[in-house]
Amino acid sequence: MEKHITLPLTEELARTLKAGDTVYLTGTIYTSRDAGHKRMCEALARGEELPFDPQDATIYYVGPTPAKPGQVIGSAGPTTSGRMDAYAPTMMSVGARGMIGKGARLPEVVDAMKMFSGVYFGAIGGAGALLAKCIKKCELIAYEDLGAEALRKLYVEDMPLVVIIDSEGNNLYETGRAEYLASRV
């Protein structure tokens, strides 16, 4: 099913999204990769606040190329989400509900998604030039020393995504492949 949604990703909205849905996402999202997640989880462990309000937030796993003059951002496709698996349950426990990336997730992440009504969206890996077109604003908000891995606040319009794992734990990587193979018999 094709859906146009506007953030924040409330629990109510998250529950309407199903694995296999094509979603066009509009709103504010935050970027972070391994190094940023590590710092955020260390900050939480020390009882400190995050550089953004995590409640109903969506995090895009991306390290963009530098913007050319006149560009909002450089190429900005997803990185492999599995490297954030060690941190994702902690992020969901403080309210960050949406994740945008690519690739498989561990069962612990899926369990946390079921507990906190999380949604895992897939952006097309390797389509960084196309995805950059949906990013209308980009602001560096923390961890500047990490370069491409710094935390950025983005405003996106109609970002094309697919729901890979929904809040009930349904997984397009399993169902999509099974359906294709069944259609070949």
Binding site: G20, T22, A35, V62, G63, P64, T65, P66, A67, K68, Q71, G74, S75, A76, G77, T79, T80, G82, K102, G103, A104, G122, I124, G125, G126, A127, G128, A129, L130, A132, K133, L146, G147, A148, P160, V162, I164, L172, Y173, T175, G176, R177, A178, E179, Y180, L181, S183, R184
Partner: protein, 280 residues
């Protein structure tokens, strides 16, 4: 004896870093478009359409195809009748990478220590491979390698008794384990023979070989076709969402090996299989 100033190598590496990251080779585009025509599912078709639109945008706007602009793998084939002058070759290549990644607005993705990390800030050092060949030319290939796919690569030292079946099973097992992580559709490079290290290098060279070519030995040429078909019967599909196109190409490179062994390395690449060559 022909003299080549290393400043020419710096300039060529600089330009090739930018061009390889911006313009996908025609054979790769052609393979993706052929696969698009064979997909039936709406999601798989949509993914391939977006991938095609993406490399067209990169072409027209001169922007990187993918944000992971890779480690710069630089292959130099240096003619034995060439005398390199004007400085140190390794520094000249790194300078080309430094300039290319800066001027091309490419991402700096290299850390200075594998365990203690810390970005080098300029994407150096290059992964440099040099080979001395007959003649008086210098052939330079730059192949930026992303790590979403590099991380899914594998190597195994087979006993000779494992035979052809062992290699076939290993290819399918590696692609299965990679699943959606390396941004399928993939390009699969298989290196068989040599030593532990040479097999890995063969696999890397295999992903750089044009996808519309075959191994010169018909035995391996047929194996390339057979294994591509088997990989595409796994159903992983574009981005792992299910479909026919799990891989757009599978190339095999081989070398003689020891009586006691049969090394096999598999280098996985994504659909953004970038490389550009120039001869000085």
């Amino acid at each position: 004896m022909r003299q080549v100033n290393v400043s020419q190598i710096t300039e060529t590496v600089r330009r090739l870093c930018i061009e390889a990251n911006t313009h996908l080779p025609e054979d790769v585009k052609c393979a993706i478009e052929t696969c698009r025509a064979c997909e039936d599912g709406a999601i798989a078709q949509g993914v391939l359409d977006n991938i095609i639109e993406n490399y067209n945008i990169a072409d027209w706007e001169n922007v990187p195809i993918c944000q992971d602009t890779g480690m710069a793998c630089v292959f130099l084939e240096i003619g034995q009748d060439v005398h390199l002058v004007g400085g140190d070759l390794r520094s000249a290549v790194d300078e080309g990478v430094r300039q290319g990644y800066d001027q091309g607005y490419l991402r700096k993705s290299v850390v200075k220590d594998p365990v203690r990390r810390g970005n080098t800030g300029d994407n150096t050092p290059a992964m440099l491979y040099t080979e001395i060949v007959p003649g008086e030319n210098v052939k330079i290939t730059v192949g930026p390698k992303g790590f979403g796919s590099e991380n899914m690569s594998a190597i195994r030292m087979f006993k000779p008794s494992a035979g052809l079946q062992g290699i076939k099973d290993f290819i399918l097992e590696t692609v299965e384990a990679a699943g959606p992580n390396p941004c399928p559709p993939m390009v699969i490079g298989v290196g068989i023979g040599g030593t532990f290290d040479k097999a890995a290098l063969l696999a890397k060279k295999a992903i750089m070989r044009p996808l519309d070519t075959h191994h010169p030995d018909p035995f391996y040429a047929e194996l390339e076709d057979e294994m591509l078909e088997k990989v595409n019967a796994l159903g992983i599909g574009p981005q792992g969402f299910g479909g026919r196109t799990t891989a757009i190409g599978l190339n095999i490179e081989t070398l003689p090996t020891h009586i006691a062994g049969m090394p096999c390395a598999i280098n996985i690449n994504c659909h953004v299989t970038r490389h550009k060559t120039e001869v000085l």
